[in-house]
């Protein structure tokens, strides 16, 4: 029984992940530009269905290990699907990143 259940869960997970785009913002307590960066991201993804995105904010002041793991030390930095931009992002740039992450995911899922 366990075998069958496990396989189903795996399939669900893979399928679920492929339809969600993960956006990660690295910020810190002292970073003056970070609040604006977070605002821009929230405003940009507002127009989409909420289920399309998973938006995670990593506070490097509280969690420096996470920033070190990703090699990110200039803040704010937004990471979407393996690419990143540093500084307060322009909405157009974010949309571009989201779009290419989507295309990439679709292609990956279709193969």
């Amino acid at each position: 029984m366990s075998e069958k259940t496990e396989r189903t869960e795996d399939e669900e997970e893979v399928f679920g992940e492929s339809s969600i785009i993960e956006i990660v913002l690295f910020k810190s307590d002292s970073c003056a530009f970070c609040p604006r960066a977070e605002e821009v991201i929230r405003e940009t993804i507002e127009d989409f269905e909420a289920s399309v995105f998973k938006f995670t904010v990593i506070n490097v002041t509280e969690n420096p290990e996470a920033a070190e793991e990703y090699g990110i030390f200039a803040l704010p930095t937004v990471m979407i699907g393996g690419v990143s931009i540093t500084g307060i992002p322009e909405p157009e740039m974010l949309l571009k990143m989201i779009l290419s992450a989507k295309v990439y995911k679709k292609r990956g899922a279709g193969e």
């Binding site: 690295f26 810190s28 002292s30 970073c31 003056a32 530009f33 604006r36 960066a37 490097v60 002041t61 420096p64 290990e65 920033a67 070190e68 793991e69 990703y70 090699g71 990110i72 030390f73 200039a74 803040l75 704010p76 930095t77 990471m79 393996g82 690419v83 990143s84 931009i85 540093t86 500084g87 307060i88 992002p89 322009e90 740039m93 990143m97």
Partner: protein, 248 residues
């Protein structure tokens, strides 16, 4: 210790302390500049290794260029086992090298960022280890990573201040571009530091080169004003205080 005597941090480079009144002033920022292959990384890493093994001062090595496994391998040639120090909590190697797999590909930069992340990452290790020595190798790579020079300049000042305020003596390395006469790609490297050491590997004949070291400045210190012979031996870098470099 009175406010008027400067406490010295032994460099761990045989012969170098004699040129600078016994060592680097504690809590200062020292720049080690030189062209490619002059020994900047070896000198900086030796400063940390000897600090941990001989002077009971833990260290943090922030590598922005060379991957840690290569640093460990190269230093082992000099009998310096970094992995052992890492295991015993006397050294932390912070891998911010481009070879890192998890690092996303940067596709853009807006001139609205700071280096508070770098500060948090470094100070986290300083605190964990109770470190007294920090090396950032190399500053120059930042010039290729980021376009906004003005931000970098300001942020470097803040970063150095934060690290030294935490009680650490900070060594920065900077690569002098091949045809360049300055001290690095930012033109501010010298201002950033209260001490500047320059490494050379000059051609002295058609068939040979000679390594040397110069203490260009060291605030609060009566230092040698000559260029001294330096060698990379099986035990690491060594300076000959009595020997003036033949290349100069």
């Amino acid at each position: 210790m009175s406010d008027y005597t400067i406490e010295r941090v032994k460099t761990g480079i045989p012969g170098l302390d004699e040129l600078i009144e016994g060592g680097f002033p504690r809590g200062d920022t020292i720049l080690v500049a030189g062209k490619a292959g002059t020994g900047k990384s070896i000198l900086a890493t030796q400063f940390l290794y000897k600090g941990a093994t001989l002077y009971n001062e833990a260290g943090v090595l922030v590598t922005l260029e060379e991957p840690p496994r290569l640093i460990r391998r190269n230093m082992l040639r000099f009998g310096m086992d970094l992995a052992k120090l890492e295991q015993s909590g006397r050294l932390a190697i912070v891998d911010l090298s481009p070879s890192k797999e998890a690092t996303p590909v940067t596709i853009g930069e807006y001139p609205s960022f700071d280096l508070s992340g770098l500060e948090a990452i470094i100070l986290n290790h300083v605190k964990k280890l109770g470190a007294k020595r920090v090396v950032i190798d190399t500053l120059s790579i930042m010039a290729y990573k980021f376009r906004s020079r003005d931000i970098l300049r300001e942020e470097f000042f803040k970063l150095c201040a934060a690290i030294t305020r935490a009680g650490c003596t900070l060594l920065l390395t900077s690569e002098i571009p091949a045809q360049d006469t300055g001290l690095g790609v930012f033109d501010i490297e010298a201002f950033l530091a209260s001490g500047v050491i320059v490494l050379y590997n000059e051609k002295i004949s058609d068939t040979s080169r000679s390594r040397s070291i110069e203490v260009l400045k060291l605030r609060g210190s009566k230092h040698s004003s000559r260029i001294h012979s330096m060698r990379i031996t099986d035990e690491g870098i060594r300076v000959w205080p009595g020997e003036i470099s033949p290349g100069h």
